[in-house]
């Protein structure tokens, strides 16, 4: 269980809203993600003081400033490194990392691989607009091949990556895709991510009206469909059927399994190392340096 659960309703979505006004462009998909996060936090009932939202750099990485919990807007690509430190040092906290496709898949791609592999008990929301927004419209790892951007005058020469497929192959234990234009469903997904025990990876298609135009939103909305009810998310092969889609965009929890998380494993090491004894004093440690001859 990644988040603290309470049975009675303790918080309203507005309790998580900070005084800071988002810098996002009107119509930005990230507004939907932010709303969904407020609502999901309230539904799960996590205490703001026991929650940390961390990010890297990018439009979407401004999000921690808009949430009234502890927050950290770090440097480009390193949200998950900060989250690793917070969660491992203080396992009882609810830790959420957020960012965009450039931040998480290009400059920070290596950290995503290892957070998945470790099954770090963190929720990672990747707001995917298939473009670099803050730096004004360059190609990203999720930009479709052939697309013209500010940095691909002749069209994008590179194939794109499917973030969900990547996360699954690296060992994430909860992988979902959402759409910022379907708020009701997105709230459920964020809630599910917060409640998952282990690394929860939520890829939210979050259109960029400024650099991808109205077409991106329209096209995503048209292609959107929801996973069939009989989808068995415990089998990776089933989940992989919904990756690398071009004609449709399937939202839902693609993959979900329960395995020991990084915190579980480190706690078990600690139990073994301490073996019911109090922590040694500095003198105890120093005495081990007297040669035993």
């Amino acid at each position: 269980m990644n988040a603290t659960t309470v049975t009675d309703i303790k918080f309203k979505p507005g309790d998580y809203k900070s005084d800071l006004k988002p810098v996002w462009c009107p119509g930005c998909g990230d507004f939907g993600v932010l709303s969904a996060l407020y609502r999901a936090l309230a539904k799960v009932g996590v205490e703001p003081e026991n929650t940390v939202v961390l990010s890297g750099i990018g439009c979407s990485s401004r999000l921690p400033g808009y949430v009234k919990t502890y927050g950290f807007n770090g440097v480009h690509g390193r949200a998950l490194t900060l989250a690793t430190g917070v969660k491992v040092a203080r396992p009882e906290l609810t830790v959420i990392a957020v960012g965009g496709d450039g931040d998480g898949l290009a400059i920070g791609g290596n950290h995503l691989m290892h957070a998945c592999r470790r099954n770090l008990d963190v929720t990672y929301i990747l707001m995917d607009n298939e473009i670099y927004g803050l730096t004004k419209g360059q190609v990203a790892p999720t930009t479709p091949t052939g697309d013209k951007t500010k940095s691909t005058f002749w069209g994008n020469p590179e194939p794109s990556v499917d973030p969900c497929e990547l996360a699954m192959s690296c060992g994430a234990t909860w992988v979902a895709r959402g759409f910022s234009g379907d708020l009701k469903f997105l709230v459920e997904l964020v809630e599910g991510a917060l409640r998952h025990h282990g690394f929860a990876f939520l890829n939210v298609m979050s259109p960029c009206v400024t650099w991808r135009g109205d077409d991106q939103f329209k096209s995503m909305k048209e292609k959107l469909r929801t996973l069939p009810e009989d989808h068995d998310p415990t089998r990776r092969a089933n989940a992989l059927a919904y990756t690398r889609e071009t004609e449709v965009l399937t939202q839902g929890v693609l993959y979900e399994v329960e395995t020991p998380s990084m915190v579980d494993r480190l706690e078990s090491i600690k139990q073994r190392a301490m073996n019911g004894r109090p922590a040694p004093s500095t003198r105890d440690i120093l005495e081990t340096f007297i040669p035993k001859v």
Binding site: V52, G74, T81, V86
Partner: protein, 592 residues
């Protein structure tokens, strides 16, 4: 005449067991309460290849590895040749070598006139005869050294027992026979050891520790309960030690995917309220530099140990140098205040690490402990009594301060109240972006100027409260040597030797490198006539750093600098001191 200070060097290939032999001598001597310094050197091979081990054993205090070897043991002259220029023998050294080694010893350059005593010993034959295997060669040698030079025989025998007690009884017995064979052979050539026999009194056992271990223990003592690191020579022993001990202390350790992640995790852990640390070497520090700026900007305490090695790039991974100085001091985009400390010996590694945590917590900024391979990987004897250090913690906000909480409140000292997750009412969003007192992003000039001033102001408190340094030698001196870090050992020994000859020489060694201890430097300079700056950096980084803050006496300042790769010796410092003393004397004659 017996001696009370003996330096023994052993050279062989991997498998010859010279390091094991050195370990046993060091352990036995520490157990007897003697002072020991043990240094190892390797080729770049992962297994096998040449290795050397130098152990200095003394009944009195020691400050350096001993630049002249009294006893040299060589199993293979080809291996010795790979350390040419690094292992220098005393003119009356005793050179004990494998009698059957095909390379004639008269073609070997020992770095001194051929006045040494050559002692061929059939190590291979002795090992075969006594233990039935050439593998016991090093144990035969241990017995031989013990017998010839009167090292503590009973303790060394126990060391052999300890080493092999988990093996089969036959193996243990074979090695004990090998040890005895060495002692017996020593009796047949005992006249060869004349003038080098060691004399000592048994005292309380000492601790035997490396600088890396001392840093790790210092971190635990300071309350560090989270470590994130990526393996890199010569710092990895910190990671290794803490991988065992951190969980025993109730803390957590992660070996991250790279150094970017290591420093990120440390900043995250510290932001979350847990004292956190990473350890690396020059190339790793380079990767951490961006987030060093983040820790500085977001005012998150972080401790980074940089164990320097020869550079740039992959450089000389297994050998020492003092050439990360500028990177540690100035490596940054933007104006990013940090603190740089430099331990000068193994004991200092403990104290500097605890001080680093105290400073990081009090001033809420990154603190770099600039260690180096020489101090980090050598083993040295220490007394339990000197290893204690006051521990300080982060300033918790008052209830009043939580009212409209300003995380980055601009105070007189520059230090603001800091909360961490779990503290209700203390929630704040921090930023790598410039921010106002509440932590909200701002790109206004006025905010940037004000917050830069606030962040730099914190350094004043550090300089006033933590200006620790060492001064040795004459109160008023004709020559004053300024050095830093592990150069202290040979410099101190050279200065004390000069004082012993009645020469007026002094040394100044700052442990706090930045913020610059200006007044302490000025005071020292006022007491000396000529200055020598000593460092292991080809481009003289330390000298140039001093010049950014100090007017060094023009025409009276000399620089002794060279590349790392070979540790600084007492002899080369003495030589420079002598030259400058003579020059000073000449100058005074002219003035009269």
């Amino acid at each position: 005449m017996p001696v009370r200070d003996l330096t023994i060097a052993m050279v062989g290939s991997g498998g010859d067991g010279v390091v094991t032999m050195g370990d046993m001598i060091a352990q036995g001597a520490a157990r007897e309460g003697l002072n020991v310094m043990k240094v190892e050197a390797y080729g770049p091979q992962i297994r096998g290849g040449e290795s050397s081990c130098t152990v200095r054993v003394s009944a009195g205090p020691i400050y350096s590895q001993g630049d002249q070897i009294d006893v040299l043991v060589v199993f293979n002259w080809a291996d010795f040749a790979r350390f040419r220029g690094e292992l220098v023998c005393a003119s009356d050294a005793i050179v004990i070598f494998e009698a059957t080694d095909e390379k004639p010893h008269d073609q070997i350059d020992l770095g001194v006139e051929d006045t040494v005593r050559w002692v061929p010993v059939p190590f291979i034959q002795l090992a075969k005869d006594a233990a039935g295997t050439t593998l016991a060669k090093n144990i035969v040698t241990l017995g031989l050294l013990s017998g010839m030079f009167r090292l503590p025989e009973a303790t060394l025998r126990r060391a052999v027992e300890g080493k092999f007690k988990k093996k089969k009884t036959e193996v243990l017995e074979a090695n004990l026979r090998g040890f005895q064979a060495g002692i017996d052979f020593a009796a047949t050539i005992s006249d060869q050891a004349a003038g080098k026999r060691f004399q000592f009194e048994t005292k309380e056992p000492m601790l035997l520790m490396s600088g890396n271990e001392a840093c790790a223990v210092g971190a635990l003592h300071a309350g560090c309960r989270f470590f994130a690191g990526y393996p890199i020579t010569p710092s990895s022993e910190i990671l290794h030690f803490l991988s065992e001990w951190m969980p025993k202390m109730g803390g957590y350790l992660v070996q991250t995917e790279d150094e970017l992640s290591a420093i990120g995790a440390v900043i995250g852990g510290s932001f979350a309220g847990v004292k956190s640390m990473t350890a690396t070497s020059g190339p790793g520090l380079a990767l951490m530099t961006e987030m060093l700026g983040l820790a500085s900007m977001a005012e998150v305490p972080a401790v980074i140990i940089d164990v320097q090695r020869g550079g740039p790039s992959t450089g000389l991974p297994t050998k020492s140098e003092q050439s990360d100085l500028w990177q540690a001091l100035w490596g940054s985009h933007g104006d990013a205040p940090r603190v740089v400390l430099a331990p000068s010996d193994v004991e200092d590694c403990f104290h500097a690490t605890v001080a680093a945590f105290n400073i990081a917590e009090e001033a809420q900024m990154p603190v770099i402990v600039l260690s180096d391979q020489f101090v980090a990987q050598r083993r040295e004897t220490l007394s339990m009594l000197t290893l204690d250090h006051e521990v300080k913690s982060r300033r918790v906000p008052t209830i009043g301060e939580l009212e409209g909480f300003r995380r980055y409140r601009d105070t007189k000292t520059g230090v603001s109240p800091m909360t961490w997750p779990g503290m209700k009412g203390g929630e704040y969003q921090t930023n790598g972006l410039e921010h106002d007192e509440f932590g909200q992003p701002s790109s206004m000039f006025l905010t940037h100027e004000k917050m830069n001033a606030k962040r730099y102001r914190k350094l004043r408190g550090v300089r006033d409260d933590y200006s620790f340094f060492r001064r040795y030698g004459s109160e008023r001196a004709d020559v004053g040597v300024i050095c830093w870090g592990s150069s202290k050992g040979p410099v101190k020994e050279a200065v004390l030797r000069a004082n012993g000859r009645g020469e007026r020489v002094a040394a100044f060694v700052p442990q706090l490198l930045y913020p610059f201890p200006y007044h302490e430097f000025k005071e020292f300079l006022a007491t000396v006539s000529e200055v020598i700056v000593v460092e292991l950096s080809y481009s003289a980084q330390f000298y140039k750093y001093l010049r950014t803050f100090l007017e060094l006496p023009e025409g009276h300042t000399f620089v002794y600098k060279r590349s790392g790769g070979k540790n600084l010796t007492v002899g080369e410092i003495e030589d420079k001191i002598q030259k400058v003393l003579e020059m000073g004397a000449l100058r005074r004659e002219v003035l009269v």
